[in-house]
């Protein structure tokens, strides 16, 4: 996919990432977490050229359903037109640029601008200017005043992504190996998935990339989340859950990456543990039987019993662990991030299993969980150190590195940092303009 090779004798394209294969060191310049220049360059390259998560099909199930959502710093409308076609348009009236849709979600026949009353159809066509006269007869014959569609909108297994680059490579190619991991989530239900009401938005101190690293960093689990594992041990009447984990981490191409583990912490799909209660046991077994019948024993074991945390480059966190959660993270400034979190589950989930899913989710994840606040504390401390004169130029991501590692597809133990090296390798290429992610190499 590369548009150009690195400079002679160099592996990386920018000065922000340094690889030393002999010393087995992979390091990132801490300026990448705080500089205004990097913030701007990310806006112009990463968020302008990568596929960004917009929403799930279940959020706009019927014609006229809409969501107003900020993606990559731009206000968008995600809707379904009269023909049932999903659409993504900029949420701005073409007359004076006013924000058009002010509700976060709803159902409508048209979008009406509050200012001069311009009316747009679900397909974005300008229907009415609310003017008795004054416009040329062919004023909008060329569609100049129709709502502006986002250049690209594509979906994979009901997950919708947009791209602001009209020449972007297709979503399915972009997803590379991450597609199969997303499919493992979609495969959890024959009836499809749905976003569960109650999405969470928060902001915190810290560069957005600190949350990316944190979200699939299993290494920090036993230390940072000691109090969570104590809770789990207590709940399971077992000892040392943290030590029983096993698994791997890998880069999945194009900067995506994941770790995958086995851990007896219970899943509504489809791992029963005693704290779920006897009533749930048979229901989870039936979910598991259905998985085996539909997917085969091997795939069903992976889909239902294992847990994985994935990053779809650049900023989509897909955590399929105690429950399924999806997060997007954007930089608000070099040192502050905006985070949005959604819970996802089977559309036809049994009410008891849905309750267990939400309970399991709350225990760990979310702004008042037993773990996420401590994650936020950790990256706030990283940012604070960075902004308060921590000596040394580099952050280290070397764990598990090998001399001949293929960085975009790095592999290692789940406690290694291979997946993060894959991410930073892609980040380096994109901000340096080495990979435009375009079909026309534009």
């Amino acid at each position: 996919m590369l548009d150009k090779p690195a400079a002679p004798g160099r592996e990386m394209y920018s000065d922000y990432v340094a690889v030393d294969r002999k010393a087995l060191r992979f390091r990132v310049d801490r300026a990448a977490y705080s500089s205004q220049e990097v913030f701007q360059r990310e806006r112009d390259t990463i968020f302008a050229r990568c596929w960004l998560y917009l929403g799930h099909a279940s959020e706009v199930p019927k014609a006229g359903d809409f969501m107003a959502r900020n993606v990559g710093g731009r206000d968008l409308i995600f809707t379904r037109d009269r023909d049932g076609k999903a659409r993504a348009m900029f949420n701005a009236c073409t007359h004076r640029g006013s924000t058009l849709c002010r509700e976060a979600s709803g159902s409508t026949k048209v979008f009406t601008c509050p200012y001069h009353g311009w009316v747009f159809g679900l397909d974005g066509k300008l229907r009415d200017t609310a003017a008795k006269g004054g416009y040329a007869p062919n004023f909008n014959a060329d569609g100049l005043y129709d709502l502006v569609p986002v250049p690209r909108l594509e979906s994979f297994r009901d997950f919708f992504f947009i791209n602001f680059n009209p020449d972007a490579i297709p979503l399915v190619d972009y997803l590379a190996g991450a597609g199969d991991y997303l499919a493992m989530i979609a495969d959890q239900s024959a009836a499809g998935l749905e976003v569960i009401a109650g999405s969470q938005s928060f902001s915190c101190y810290g560069n957005w990339k600190l949350l990316i690293e944190n979200s699939y960093d299993a290494y920090h689990g036993p230390s940072l989340h000691a109090s969570y594992f104590e809770f789990l041990d207590n709940r399971m009447a077992a000892s040392n859950s943290a030590a029983t984990q096993s698994g791997f981490a890998r880069g999945l191409g194009n900067g995506h990456g994941a770790f995958e583990i086995q851990l007896q912490s219970g899943r509504a799909v489809a791992q029963w543990i005693p704290p779920f209660g006897e009533e749930a046991k048979g229901r989870i077994e039936r979910v598991n039987d259905e998985l085996i019948a539909r997917l085969g024993a091997e795939r069903a074991e992976r889909v239902g019993q294992r847990q994985r945390n994935m990053i779809i480059f650049p900023n989509l966190v897909v955590n399929d662990n105690l429950a399924v959660s999806i997060r997007s993270v954007y930089p608000q400034s070099p040192t502050r991030m905006d985070v949005r979190v959604w819970a996802v589950g089977p559309a036809d989930e049994d009410p008891l299993l849905r309750k267990i899913r939400l309970d399991n989710y709350l225990t760990f994840i979310g702004p008042a969980g037993f773990a996420t606040p401590d994650d936020i504390e950790a990256f706030e401390l990283c940012q604070r150190g960075n902004d308060h004169g921590a000596p040394g130029r580099w952050s280290d991501l070397s764990k598990g590195m090998s001399e001949d590692e293929n960085l975009l597809f790095a592999q290692g133990d789940f406690l290694d940092e291979a997946q993060m090296r894959s991410w930073w390798t892609q980040w380096d290429r994109i901000i340096a303009g080495a990979d435009s992610l375009s079909t026309g190499r534009g």
């Binding site: 976060a104 569960i196 009401a197 109650g198 999405s199 969470q200 938005s201 928060f202 902001s203 915190c204 101190y205 940072l224 000691a226 109090s227 969570y228 104590e230 809770f231 207590n234 709940r235 502050r336 905006d338 819970a343 009410p351 849905r354 309750k355 939400l358 309970d359 989710y361 709350l362 225990t363 979310g366 702004p367 008042a368 037993f370 996420t372 606040p373 401590d374 936020i376 504390e377 950790a378 604070r384």
Partner: protein, 175 residues
Amino acid sequence: MSAQLETPRAAQAGRAAGREEIENFLYHEAELLDDWQLAAWEALFTEDGRYEVAPISLDKPETLDPSKVLFLVADDRARLKQRTLRLMKKSAHAEYPHSRTRHLVSNIRFQADGDEILTRSVFVVYRIRREEVMTYMGQNQHRLRRVDGALRIVSKRACLDLETLKPQGTVSIIL
């Protein structure tokens, strides 16, 4: 419950628990939280007690069911205890060292519901941490029951007025 408040029925409950006792109870709860006396706070709950923080992105949070939509907190008694135990550990990093907090309770209304008392009160909670002040505001709904002569919390649901947790980030304290 607005129109029904302190009607003759509530006055009956008023004999069971008067305004002064209810106010004192809520102020006492706030004080325990500000003093980080979490074991004592937890002991205010009945055996079947629940503590919840409703979603902030949905309408009518007082009517929502935590088994159907995603709450910020939906603790049964067992998890409530785990929450308080965790928050007293040094390894609960988001609250180590403990934030300073100030829980203000106001606009208290109440009514009887059988043997129990429903109260609705407005709260403002300040959290002070690393030189920053964060504010949480909203409405608390308590269901109180008299056990062995003393009021106990059957359920407490905090409904934040916030639209997002920007800039608060977390709800790592108890509201």
